[in-house]
């Protein structure tokens, strides 16, 4: 597998550079409909609970957050931010993702061929170090054995292994789709095309807010968007792609776009202005 990926040269970290799958989410297009969340759950056999009112326990590989600029009408603004696993590459894409670094069981690893952070359910023993290490809270713990309503069992995907109680799970960038697509490309002796491997959330988004592909492949749209260059022209109209908590050097592969300054600042702690309430009073005590 992975042999037809053509581009291979050595990077500074000593690993041959293969593909680097990533995502660009246009927050100005996202309407917060939640179709990506539903598609993700259906695609990846994510279980539901008999009582879903407690959302803290709900497993959502893709979760849409609601952000607000905190201002009163008429200046109030809302933004919806879909958050999958960021598939962090760590500094220089050396594979030192926060979760991979702390896993004592090698239940999660970084693929230098695809840039995807895996989660192997049968290897995980549920210590949850990775959950503590993940700054994006993209990992979820199975507190119970999965329960699927009777008829739903017939809809489970055979390509995705169903998890059990006591282990951690997270977004895999629908890696099973990559496996299927690569299988066919390999058999036909050709390279993988961009449209052949797309995540379920990307395809489900009615607003077309999500773009997915190989960040290292110049022909893929994600590469063009992140580098703001499509057929020699800038495509972002002044918008700059940003990533969540970039100051942590986690090197995520999920980029966001927004023309609104407050949204960009909300995603990046170092850019946030300190609110007056947080400011320490100057001067000494009398």
């Amino acid at each position: 597998m992975g042999e037809t990926q053509g581009h291979g040269h050595q990077e500074g970290n000593g690993h041959a550079q293969g593909s680097k799958y990533g995502m660009v989410i246009d927050l100005d297009k996202c309407t917060g409909c939640g179709a990506c969340m539903v598609a993700c759950m259906a695609e990846n056999n994510v279980p539901t609970k008999p009582d879903e009112t407690n959302k803290l326990d709900t497993i959502t590989w893709m979760r849409v957050f609601k952000l607000s600029n905190g201002k009163a009408f008429p200046e109030a603004e809302t933004c919806y931010l879909p958050r999958p696993c960021m598939h962090c590459g760590g500094k220089h894409d050396a594979g030192h993702s926060p979760c991979v670094s702390v896993c004592p069981a090698t239940a999660t690893d970084y693929s230098y061929k695809t840039g995807i952070v895996s989660q192997i359910y049968t290897r995980c023993f549920g210590c949850r170090y990775c959950m503590g290490a993940c700054p994006y809270k993209a990992r979820y713990f199975n507190w119970w054995d999965p329960k699927f309503p009777a008829d739903m069992k017939e809809y489970l995907s055979p390509d995705v292994s169903v998890r059990m109680r006591g282990i951690v799970e997270k977004c895999s960038f629908c890696f099973h789709r990559y496996q299927r697509a690569m299988d066919r490309a390999f058999y036909e002796g050709r390279e993988l095309e961009e449209h052949e491997y797309q995540t379920a959330c990307t395809q489900a988004c009615p607003a077309g807010a999500i773009t997915f592909g190989d960040l290292n492949n110049e022909r893929h749209m994600v590469h063009k968007v992140v580098n703001d260059k499509h057929e020699g022209h800038a495509v972002l109209q002044g918008r700059k792609p940003f990533r969540l908590l970039e100051e942590l050097d986690t090197n995520p592969k999920v980029y966001y776009l927004s023309a609104r300054d407050w949204v960009v600042k909300a995603g990046n702690a170092s850019l946030r202005e300190t609110s007056p309430a947080d400011k320490k009073p100057s001067g000494g005590h009398h």
């Binding site: 597998m1 049968t122 995705v160 292994s161 299988d183 058999y187």
Partner: protein
Amino acid sequence: MSGPEKTQQNGAAHKKDDSAGVFAMSLFAAGISVYVSLFVGWLVLPELLYSRQHQPIDFNHAIHMEIVDGCTSCHVFREDGTFAGTPTLAQCIDCHEEVQSIEPEPGDEDYEVRLAQYLDEVKFVEEYVQQGKEVPWLIYSKQPDCVFFSHAAHMTSHKFKVLEGGKIGAPPVEFEHGEEPEDARCNMCHMAFIDGEAVPFGEAETLPLYRRNWITTYPIDIWGRNISGFNDHYYDSAKMDDCAQCHYDQRNDHQGQDACFVCHK
């Protein structure tokens, strides 16, 4: 020496003898325990750990291979290279709509073997073909749910090397260009273990005993028959380490391991 003193010395000597005896007995008991534990752990428990099941029909691969052309005549691959699974009734029904073989007479050559084959065919026709029911074959190479295995990649990869006799560390077999028999690839992983001997499935006149681990529910062909896990051949077992070893051996660069998501899902 007075009487009581002598008695005391004798008592001390007895105590010394007793403690030495107890020590020797303990050592002996410990030694026996180790032997018993090893015997139970390495010979008895592995036998108890696995079920002993016969296939619903004792299919004779050798006879069928005389008629068909290679494994993929019945173990079909789809147009996109994916494996279609165990052969179904549809593939058998053309020949076996009715019982084909003739009931042997006592005194015939190989009477018992031929009678068993005849009875198997009668059972197959009456219980499955005539009832339109698929045979519930027991799958020797059934992998756990978390495994992604691509037959397409293994059967078509030009990088895949068939090693002599499927032996670990053996040199690759040099085939004339395009002359590699497909069965050579199949036999790298799939062999029938009959009476302790590994036989290519295509040459087997009977099906191996199916043994399933009571705890894990995986067939013995996954862990292998050697309880220590050490193997001589690639087909001896199909654990994660075995797949990783073969992937490593097949690569010319011998650099690093594949990522987990290559074979897991």
